[in-house]
Structures are given as C-alpha cells and as structure tokens.
C-alpha cells in the first residue's frame, strides 16, 4: 500500500522556488563583490554592473536551461552552487586586491566555461543511463588523463605535486576531470558486477569478507591510487579516488566487508608510504606540530590557523583582514581567507551549503529508479564530501594537509569546470528520479498494442 502511494506520488517541479533561491544567491554573491570594493578601496567597484550582470546572466541562463530540459530537477542544487561560486569570486577578487593580481576575471571566464559545459551536459545528455555505455571508455580516458602530467613536455610540477599539464599558457589539472570519469566507470562496472562481488564470500566475525578472486578491481584501484601518491606526490587525489572507489563498492555490494578490506589496504598503503616517502612524512609532521617549523615547512598552515583565529566568530570584515599572508590563499587556502574576513559564521554557513549539496545528491540517489543512477549520484556525492573534508580538514588542521581545491570557491579552472559538470549530472539524475512515471499501465489501453512496456519501475 505504501509502495503504491509512493508510486503515485508526483514530485513538484519547484522551478519557481529555484528562481527565488537563485536571486538570493545572486544578492549574496554580488553583494559580497561590492562589499570587497567598499572594504578595501572604500568605494563600490567600478565594474560592479558589468560583473553583476555577467554573473546574473550566467546563473539565469543555467536556470532557463534547467527549466527547459530538466524540469523536475532538484531546485536547491543550482542556487547553492551559484552562491558558492559568487562568494568564491568575491573572495578571489579580495585576494587579487591584496596581492595586486587579476585572477577573479579569469575565474569568471572559467565559470562561464563551466556553465556552458553544464548547459551542454543537460542538453545533450537527456538520460544519464546513456553514460553506462561508456563505462570502459571513460575508465581508459580517466587513466590517460591521470597519466598526462607524467609526460615530459606538457607535464608540469607545481608546488611539488606533478598533477598539472600545460598547453601553451593554459594550465589544467586533468585529475579533476578524471574524478568525474571515474565515477561513471565505477558505476558502470559495479552495476553489472555487483552480484558477483556481493554474494560470494565467507563470514568472519559477523563480517562477510569477499572472495580472493573478486579482489581484482579493488587491487587495481589501490595500485592506481598508490601510484598517484608516489609518482605524482598528490596525497589528496590519491585519498579521494580510493575513498570514492570504496564508497561506490560498498553501496553497490551492500557489504561492509569491502570497507574493511579497502580500509585496511588504504591504511596499509599509507603507512608504507609514510615510511618510504619524505613528502608524506613531511605532511604528517607539519600536521602534528605546524609551529615546530613555523617559518619553513609549517609556514602556510600556521598562517592559515592565524588567519582563522584572527577572524574569530564574525570575522574582520571583507577588506579588513590580511588574507594575503597565507600562501595560496586564492586556491587551496581560500577557506582561511574566508574564515579571517567573514568569520566562523560564514565558514559554518559554507559548510552547511556543502553539506546540503551532498544531502541533495544522496537524496537523488535514494529516489533514483535505476542502479546506475544511484551509483553515479552516490559517487558524485561521496567525491564531493570527501574533497570538502580533505581540503577544509587540511587547512584547519583536522587532518594532514593534502592539496585539493575547495569546490566552487577556489581559484582554478579545471576544478570549477568539473564541478559544474558534476552538478549537471546530479540535476539530470534527480530530474529522472523525480519525473512522474510514464503511464504504462493505463486500464483503458491494451498493453498488447505496445511493442515494449516498462516492467521494472523501481530499481531495488
């Protein structure tokens, strides 16, 4: 009975709510931009109209496209992303003024590209299940992308991590794109092989452990993660990819045993890496006592902590702090700049926004009607949550610092574009999930007249 009710329940489109929230988000973003000008120079930025107009145009365009091609999509995701992106732009502009650079303009261009890809994804991908066709293609593409920085000419080492490629003046972190491709690969693979992975195994101490022969994929993924860690010295991405893999494996098989095996593998690998590689040890040492070498290795983290403390509960106010003191304040450490100038209040608010994105994504996964959609949505939610945790945990000294960008806030084209695509995919999945079922079993029609009929409405 309840199930029948659930089937009859039709989600409302809520596009009006989305538009209202979007306007709030724009007020926050453009207001922050104006406040930066007032705080630093004592006047509203001269390009406020142009900037605000551009931002508004991008956001409204995204809204219109959603209205047209994904009318049932979750109404909360896009406004949250617009708010985050707007605050990020204002903060980058703030740091530009402190350091006399012009990265906010570039970031606005990247945002434009991101929104264009967002639109393209929604327009061309009418059903996310089409992506399942590209399981192995996207896996291969992800591996190629991950290896690109290792190539001699275009590979580029920045701050010790070899995760960049440079084509002419353009720098790009292929790992950010690989993140999305890997989610698709894992989802496609697991949705097919989940039964084999889930059912066979033996029970040890209340936990079902998988069979040895099924360990293949997990070992491959473990190897890939470790080689990223070792060859590219990129602690963050390594953690992110392996964590993503484990989450999706667990969701697909419903077996906590995989988490035990995977977790053991991860911590074992990390322990070995800690012993063998100086850069891992160094990160842990900084984490344990950043003040031991406050002017050397620990400088960045110490400055970040000082920044957060300086901000306190309500922050110094935009333009009133010294965010330029933290190296990389516009990218990995943008949260320190926000903590300093907008305070704990804003940091918690932003964390709640991130939390809401994850929550909406997992909600889409829950109501999605197909296994592939569930896995993709869960994977995207997981990768998002892990990334936020790893980077913000790092700059606030909850966990050792790894280098990842803060989604939508940090300066960085690859990350911003990839995250806009992630949001497009989530909107597509939630649109599919919330859309009313096609009326397949109308009593007045003879099912035999149709060549096909829907037999499986809800995937588990």
């Amino acid at each position: 009975m309840a199930n029948a009710l659930l089937l009859q329940f039709v989600h409302r489109r809520r596009r009006g709510a989305e538009l209202f929230l979007l306007i709030l988000a724009l007020v926050v973003g453009i207001g922050a931009y104006a406040a930066v000008g007032l705080g630093v120079d004592g006047e509203v930025p001269t390009n406020l109209l142009g900037y605000g107009g551009w931002l508004a145009a991008l956001v409204i365009a995204a809204h219109v496209v959603v209205r047209l091609v994904a009318p049932y999509a979750d109404p909360v995701l896009l406004p949250i992303v617009a708010a985050l992106n707007g605050i990020g732009l204002a903060m980058i502009h703030r740091i530009d003024l402190a350091l006399d650079q012009g990265q906010a303009d570039q970031q606005l261009i990247w945002m434009t590209i991101g929104v264009m890809l967002f639109v393209a994804t929604l327009v061309f991908l009418r059903d996310h299940r089409l992506l399942a066709r590209f399981t192995y293609t996207s896996g291969l593409a992800a591996l190629v992308l991950l290896m690109l920085p290792m190539l001699p000419v275009i590979g580029n080492e920045v701050n010790g991590a070899r995760i960049w490629i440079a084509i002419g003046p353009l720098g790009f972190q292929p790992g950010e794109i690989a993140k999305v491709l890997l989610v698709i690969t894992f989802a496609g693979y697991f949705v097919v092989h989940r039964d084999a992975l889930a059912l066979a195994g033996r029970r040890v101490l209340f936990v079902d452990f998988p069979r040895g022969r099924d360990l293949g994929p997990i070992l491959v993924m473990w190897g890939v993660s470790l080689s990223i860690l070792i060859l590219q010295k990129d602690l963050g991405s390594s953690l992110l990819f392996f964590g993503l893999f484990l989450i999706m494996l667990y969701v697909a098989t419903e077996r906590p045993g995989w988490l035990v095996v995977g977790g053991a593998l991860f911590f074992g690998g990390a322990a070995v890496a800690f012993r063998l590689f100086a850069h891992v040890q160094q990160r842990v040492d900084i984490w344990l006592d950043p003040f031991a070498d406050r002017n050397g290795d620990g400088y960045q983290l110490v400055q970040s902590l000082y920044g957060f403390a300086w901000g306190g509960l309500i922050g110094r106010g935009l333009g009133e702090g010294m965010p330029g003191r933290v190296p990389e304040a516009e990218s990995d450490f943008i949260m320190a700049a926000i903590g300093e100038e907008l305070g704990l209040t804003a940091v918690i608010a932003l964390l709640l926004l991130y939390g809401l994105i994850v929550e909406r994504a997992l909600r889409a996964a829950l109501i999605s009607r197909d296994g592939f959609g569930k896995l993709v949505a869960t994977g995207l939610a997981g990768v998002f949550a892990l990334q936020v945790f790893v980077v913000i945990g790092g700059v606030t000294r909850l966990i050792p610092l790894t280098g990842l960008t803060t989604p939508f806030l940090s300066y960085g084209g690859s990350s911003l574009v990839a995250n806009w695509v992630i949001i497009a995919l989530l909107l597509r999945i939630s649109d599919q999930a919330r859309r009313p079922l096609p009326e397949a079993t109308d009593e007045s029609e003879d099912p035999d007249l149709f060549q096909t009929q829907v037999v499986k409405a809800v995937g588990r």
Binding site: V251, F308, L313, L344, I348, L351, T396
Partner: protein, 498 residues
C-alpha cells in the same frame, strides 16, 4: 542499494560535523591563544597599522610630545614619529613591526589600544565605526630637567663619551630626568623600510659604545665613594657612630688578614684623612677610604648588606622600563660570607658592589625624604585617546630605609661635603645642597676610573635627588666632583627654578 546509501549519508554527516566542531574550536576557543602569540605577524602588523597613542611628558603649557603616530600613505597607514628623538630615546624606545622597546614596550597595550582600561573607548570607537585608537601615556619627566641633564652631560663627556643622569623627586619617586649617552634617533628605527631598519639597527647594535643601552637602568658599575653614604647610614642607623663623633681613620690601612701592597687602603693623597681619629664630618667631606673601610668592617657584611638592600640593592623596583640590571651588594663569595678585607672594600663601593645610576639616585632620594624610600616611576598617567585620565600612578612607599634621625645626620654629612669638601662643584648659592662624589677604580691597570656624583637639594626639604654617572669621557680626566658636580648642579637648578 538504499541501505548503504543511508549509511554513506550518515558517514558524510560525520565528516561535516567533524569539520564544524574542529573549525569552531579553532575560531572560537583556540583563537585567543593564537591571537596573542607574539610570533603571529598578523597581530603585530595589525598593531603596527593602528593609530597608536602618544607618549607625552610635562605639565600644562610645557607639555611636550615624545612620540606620536602620524598618518602615512602606505599599507601600515601610520608612521611613528619622535619629535625629540635623541633627548628621550632611552625612555621612549622605538617602535618597529613586531617589536618595541622602552615605554613603547612597557606601555604597549595602552598605546596600541588593547588595554582593558581602554574598554569604554574601544566600545565607542566600535559604535562609531572608527578604527581603534590607542591611549596616551603621560610621563613624569620634567622637560627642563631632562634638557639640562642632556646638555650638560653631553657637554662634559663629549660626543664620544658615555654616561647617565637620573633625577628623582624624593617625596614621590617621580623620575624627573633620565638621560643616557650616547643616544640614537628612534625615528630611523621607526621607518617602514625594513631594510633600512636592519642597517641602522646593526650599526647601533654593533657600536662599541652601546647607544641602545639605557645606562640609567641597565649599566651597573662600582659606585665608589658615593656608596660611602650607604656605609655612613648603616653606621648611624646601627648606633655605631653619630654625626658629631670621631671615627677611626689613618693614612693607610692594611686590611685584616692580608699582606702585600695590593690590600693596602689609602686615601689617594687626601691628607686630612691621615690622623688615626678624625671627625665623621671630615671623613665624609674628604671621602676618607680608610675611615669607611674600618667602619664597614666594624659593622660587618651582614649589617652593610641589610642597609644596602634597604635602599634597594639586590632587587628591581622600577616597573615602567625593562630590561634593567639589578644593583648588587655581594651576598657572599663562593657561598661564604665576605671576609674583612672584602667587607672593607665594600665600605667605599668597591669589591663587588655594583650600582646603576637609578639605584644611587634612589639612595640619596631616600635620605632626602627623611629615610623613606619611594618606588621610582616614569608613567604618571594612562589616558584615553581623548586625553582623559584613566589611571594616575599613586606614589608608593617601599620602606623606611633608615630612620628620620639617621637620614638627617647623613644629610648633615653630605651638606658638609658640599660646603667644605669634595662635592663643592655642586654648591648653589642660597640653597643648601647635600652631595657626595665618587671616583671608582675599575680594577684594571691604566684605565680611567668611573666618575659619580650624587646630591639632593634643598637639603632640608628636598625637591630633587640626583645621580650622575660618567663611564667614559675621552680626553678628560675623570673625577666625580669635577665632572659630575656641575651636571648635578645644572639639573637641580633647572628643577628648583621652576
């Protein structure tokens, strides 16, 4: 697959909760500690970019500004300016990014506006959306006395000389003048060009004459014969002799338990000391080493030390400047009490007795105040940015160093020393001046001695007590009376003529 998705949701919720708890701890509970970390350049920079309060001294129309912050067109917004740099450098100190010295350091919280006493001002600033302006500090220094001390000391010891003058108001402990030479220009150190700061600082720091040292409180030397007033006070206070008594003296004295010429105390040619018994007045007026050596041995090291400590030796009293050196009356040698030969030397301020100019000024200040030692102080008032008095320093009695009768008798001896003895250069016509000279041997062959001069006036109701110390005066023969006396006189006149 919904069950594991729910588990993942809970897992994600814990991730975010962990972030929120951690950041709340960092920005709320831990912030205070980080924000007061002296190595936190952010805190230093913010303080450096704030309109700091002024350091002023003097009363009414004579008030002079010693340090103020003027608007400056760079990232720090304000430049610290010292209008009378060389005259007050050892008092004000200097301000640079992240560190400060002198009053700039000891009164930093007031000047930078962080002091709790400025709470109301801060609230008003906050309400009016103004940036927080620091409070002002009013000093006790008398601009005329400071100028007189500086001019005469500089004139006496020359541009390459080293010396110090400290003047105290005996009844209150207010420090009226405090000069240390050589000096420096704090404006050069307050520059926002930190490369230039380093160059200037290195030059000053490596200068052998140590211009950055405030000799008035940081340099301790043998006080020599000026310490005889302490010995005399101990003798009278302990009932050994009175002002009109005869005391044992002699041309020379081989100290008990010693042999050889190096332990023979003489009087450097002052023949009036030669008789075996002379009057106490003559002993003081002629600065007879043999008489005071014998007196110290008769008293014993314990009583000598008690008296010295009553005057402030072996302790710190000034709270308004740091660092300072502690003046010393030796507590023993290698864990044993001083022997007679050593005690004899302390009777005229040698052996291991060492004093800062401030300490000797405190000694005569206590005698001038009929035996009561007042705590010396430099900060008269803490004021709000609008010059309202927030706190005024109340004079603080440390203790009665000697009884009033003892003080009166030592004063008599010192007045005699000015009227009929070695301290005559400090005599002021029509005013009775009490004084004592000192010319202390360094204990190094061929090196010029240190010159000292202590005095107070008017002797019967003193308004000023003074100590002059001359460490180096190139090209001049150092003698406490000849060089120090006129300086003390000039400073006393500057104060008495007010």
């Amino acid at each position: 697959m919904n069950r594991p998705i729910r588990t993942v949701s809970i897992f994600c919720m814990f991730l975010f909760l962990a972030l929120m708890v951690n950041i709340t701890y960092l920005q709320f509970w831990h912030a205070e500690e980080l924000n007061t970390d002296p190595l936190n350049a952010r805190v230093a920079e913010a303080a450096f970019s704030r309109q700091r309060g002024e350091i002023v001294t003097g009363e009414g129309r004579e008030q002079v500004t010693l340090a103020r912050s003027t608007e400056f067109d760079d990232q720090y917004k304000y430049l610290r300016v010292y209008p009378k740099p060389k005259l007050y450098a050892n008092i004000t100190g200097y301000l640079t990014l992240g560190s400060q010295t002198g009053i700039e350091r000891s009164q930093n919280t007031v000047l930078s506006g962080e002091d709790p006493r400025l709470f109301v001002t801060r609230l008003i600033d906050l309400a009016q959306n103004q940036s927080n302006k620091g409070g002002n500090v009013l000093l006790t220094l008398d601009p005329d006395a400071q100028q007189a001390a500086y001019d005469t000391l500089l004139q006496t010891i020359g541009p390459d000389g080293e010396g110090s003058v400290v003047a105290i108001e005996p009844k209150t402990g207010r420090i009226l003048a405090m000069v240390s030479l050589p000096t420096y220009d704090p404006n050069l150190l307050a520059t926002h060009d930190f490369g230039e700061f380093n160059a200037v600082f290195q030059d000053l720091d490596q200068d052998d004459r140590e211009p950055l040292v405030n000799r008035a409180i940081q340099t301790r030397l043998f006080p020599g014969s000026t310490f005889k007033v302490v010995t005399a006070a101990a003798a009278i206070e302990n009932g050994l002799y009175a002002v009109d008594d005869e005391v044992p003296s002699g041309a020379t004295w081989q100290t008990p338990g010693t042999t050889g010429d190096s332990n023979v105390i003489d009087n450097e040619g002052r023949f009036l000391c030669n008789p075996e018994e002379i009057s106490f007045r003559t002993a003081m007026a002629q600065s007879c080493n043999t008489a005071f050596a014998k007196m110290a041995v008769e008293l014993g090291p314990e009583k000598m030390r008690e008296q010295a400590e009553a005057f402030g030796f072996n302790s710190d009293y000034l709270q308004d400047l740091s660092p300072q050196a502690q003046s010393v009356y030796p507590t023993g040698v290698d864990g044993e009490e001083l022997n007679d030969a050593q005690t004899a030397q302390t009777g005229f301020g040698q052996f291991e007795v060492q004093s800062t100019p401030l300490q000797m000024a405190m000694v005569v200040s206590a005698l001038a105040n009929r035996g009561t030692l007042m705590r010396p102080y430099l900060v008269d008032e803490v004021q709000s940015a609008e010059y309202e008095t927030l706190e005024k320093t109340e004079p603080d009695e440390i203790r009665d160093a000697v009884s009033p009768t003892t003080a009166d008798q030592v004063t008599e001896l010192m007045v005699d020393t000015v009227d009929n003895g070695t301290a005559f250069p400090a005599a002021i016509p029509g005013i009775s001046v009490a004084g004592k000279t000192g010319t202390a041997q360094r204990g190094v062959e061929g090196k010029a001695p240190y010159g000292w001069f202590v005095s107070f006036a008017p002797a019967e109701d003193a308004e000023v007590a003074i100590a002059v110390m001359i460490q180096e005066a190139p090209g001049k023969e150092i003698a406490g009376g000849a060089l120090g006396g006129p300086i003390a006189k000039a400073v006393m006149e500057a104060i008495l003529n007010d």
